[in-house]
């Protein structure tokens, strides 16, 4: 589903940050990507999301070679097939939880369609599965939610319309241990239910064991090895 080959990227000429011979992710697979701060994890996710372009090499996502696509097509691909969850501040603070979840459908007709006849009902259902008290949070701006609640809303938004890939960039690092475990369990369940592959970035190795596979960016990155 996702395969990366001979990917080279540098922010500044002459200082290569990433040089990945190969990295791949199968449909529905969960991959744990670890690496120290500054190792280029977030940069890699921007490349996979099609927001950055690599200097050379190829990223194939669902049969599309990103480097051959126009920016418009890459934005479309991202909207239709990838759900993102970031470390913090995932939500538009002035929208309530449901409207935040529905944002994904607002920018992707495909996902709106896949969310069923009533995307709003789908959003409520996803939030409930994320163990949110929907009636309590409905109508309240997202800024009033706790950080744990916000992350669960963000996960629901990433999952609505069943994208093929969910990318999570340290989504648990702002959470305490209990909240983190609950959140992870819910995320796994829902990805499995939606059939979405999960690319999970973190430097917290205690989470590693729950994933199908684990990769250390330092080990596969030739740019750092040399």
């Amino acid at each position: 589903m996702l395969s990366i080959e001979d990917l080279r990227f540098s922010w500044q000429p002459g200082k290569p940050l990433l040089d990945l011979p190969s990295l791949s992710l199968g449909a529905g697979e969960s991959l744990f990507l670890r690496g120290p701060s500054g190792s280029g994890k977030s940069t890699l996710l921007n490349l996979v999301g099609g927001v950055l372009s690599a200097q050379s090499g190829s990223i194939r996502l669902l049969g599309h070679a990103l480097e051959t696509l126009k920016p418009r097509q890459r934005d479309r691909l991202r909207a239709d097939h990838i759900g993102f969850v970031f470390q913090q501040f995932n939500l538009l603070p002035y929208f309530d939880a449901i409207d935040n979840v529905l944002l994904s459908c607002g920018f992707s007709p495909r996902r709106a369609e896949r969310a069923g006849a009533d995307p709003r009902a789908q959003a409520r259902m996803l939030l409930e599965r994320m163990q949110m008290d929907v009636d309590e949070v409905a109508g309240r701006p997202a800024a009033e939610l706790s950080v744990g609640q916000q992350q669960r809303v963000a996960a629901a938004r990433a999952l609505i319309g069943a994208p093929e890939l969910v990318i999570a960039d340290e989504p648990t690092s702002a959470l305490d241990a209990d909240t983190r475990d609950d959140f992870l369990a819910l995320l796994f369940d829902e990805c499995r239910r939606a059939g979405a592959a999960l690319l999970f970035v973190s430097h917290d190795r205690s989470l590693e064991s729950r994933f199908d596979r684990s990769v250390d960016l330092i080990e596969i990155n030739r740019a750092r090895a040399t």
């Binding site: 927001v51 934005d75 993102f84 002035y94």
Partner: protein, 431 residues
């Protein structure tokens, strides 16, 4: 979707947005108010006189003749002979002729000596004639018909006595105090200088000036000649002077109405070449246009200032939007992650500026309408400006559209910045 985001985002910052909105509203209101006053001033100016085909006075500048004969501004440097008036009135092309005599005043208001032809033929605005609100036209010496403002400001009623001063100015020491006038009529409001004028008969003026020469009182002495004697009678016995009407020697100007307007050019030339004395004939409409081209500069300057205020208001909006960009960086990153294109991020900002200008303009328009509704009575009373409440002209629509376009232009900078930042930041949430 974008509109929904914009609405929620603006509502979220409603306090700051309201301030920006008010700035825009006030600047738009100012612009429209200036435009309203400008148009109305011009209309009111143009309606000062109508139906008069030629104005004839002593040779001077055309604008000066217009100013003193119609607007009661400044003084005539010379008078014309009454016999010239009689000759003009007798010309075959002339339908009617109104003689006017200026030079006296009452507490700052000009006194105009004329005949009943004035009430019959003088027209202003859209061929509107003068109407008496109360009382009657003057019939004899010592009777005065007041313009509406004179009566209202000075609180005169029918039957009151007014004392006329020689010359112009409020505190003239040379007062014809031996010649008090009695108010016999008060005219309806016209919104023209007529409102600020006292009208008396030519004979009254003549009688009043009988023993004045060059503005200096000459000690009364016995005079010879019947004509002079009769004038003396009218002077001493100012009660019931009607029988003692003196023939005027000179007048200030003549308003002419022609049987056929097309003859105006030819007659104008003929009068200007009159051999009896140096005369000047002007066509009021043409000289009014000339005068307006002088006055119009101030008017344009005012409009320019109003536009500057609008530009300042819109720049304020630009500043406000740009200053929100840094705190909204993560919003942009979120939207990018969800699949928003960079131009959509830019469109968000454009939409915001559009909404702010739209609402601000709507508020400004309402403010002006409300202001006109409240102020129209006092403006029309004091300045003769008749502002129409609850109207919207095509020109005003043009101004509003121009402001809306300006608002979009003002939105370009924040939109461009947002576009560039969202490209640079990508999905990385920067705080």
């Amino acid at each position: 979707m974008l509109l929904k985001i914009t609405r929620a985002s603006l509502w979220n910052r409603r306090f700051a947005v309201a301030l920006t909105l008010f700035t825009v509203a006030i600047s738009v209101a100012l612009l429209l108010a200036v435009e309203r006053l400008r148009v109305e001033t011009r209309r009111s100016f143009a309606s000062t006189i109508s139906g008069t085909d030629l104005i004839v006075g002593a040779r001077t500048g055309p604008v000066q003749l217009l100013l003193y004969s119609v607007f009661r501004i400044g003084d005539a440097s010379n008078n014309i002979r009454y016999s010239s008036f009689q000759e003009l009135a007798a010309l075959p092309q002339v339908a009617w002729a109104i003689p006017i005599s200026l030079g006296d005043s009452h507490r700052g208001y000009r006194v105009l000596g004329t005949t009943s032809t004035y009430f019959e033929h003088f027209r202003y605005a859209d061929q509107r004639g003068l109407k008496l609100a109360r009382g009657a036209e003057f019939a004899g010496i010592g009777e005065a018909v007041l313009g509406a403002e004179v009566a209202a400001r000075l609180g005169y009623e029918i039957g009151d006595a007014v004392v006329i001063a020689h010359g112009i100015g409020n505190r003239d020491i040379m007062v014809h105090d031996d010649q008090p006038f009695r108010v016999v009529g008060i005219l309806e409001r016209t919104g023209t200088p007529v409102d600020r004028t006292l009208h008396v008969s030519l004979q009254s003026i003549e009688a009043m000036h009988a023993d004045w020469q060059h503005g200096v009182r000459i000690p009364r002495r016995p005079t010879a000649g019947d004509g002079d004697a009769s004038r003396e009678v009218g002077h001493d016995v100012h009660v019931a002077p009607a029988t003692a009407a003196a023939a005027p020697q000179t007048i200030t100007a003549v308003f002419l109405g022609l049987k056929n307007r097309a003859a105006a050019f030819a007659l104008q030339r003929q009068i200007n070449e009159y051999s009896g004395e140096p005369l000047l004939a002007i066509m009021p409409a043409m000289t009014m246009a000339q005068l307006w081209s002088l006055v119009g500069v101030a008017e344009s300057a005012l409009l320019l200032v109003a536009w500057c205020v609008v530009v300042a208001g819109l720049l304020g909006m630009t500043t406000a939007l740009v200053s929100t960009l840094s705190e909204r960086r993560r919003e942009m990153a979120i939207l990018r992650a969800i699949g928003a294109r960079p131009w959509q991020i830019a469109a968000l900002l454009m939409l915001e500026s559009a909404l702010i200008t739209l609402l601000g303009t709507a508020l400004g328009v309402s403010l002006v309408q409300l202001g006109v509704l409240l102020l129209a009575p006092s403006l029309s009373g004091q300045f003769g400006l008749h502002l129409q409440p609850l109207t919207f002209t095509l020109r005003e629509l043009g101004l509003v559209l121009a402001v809306l376009v300006g608002g979009q232009i003002a939105g370009i900078l924040p939109a461009l910045l947002a576009y560039r930042r969202s490209l640079a930041d990508g999905l990385t949430i920067r705080i």
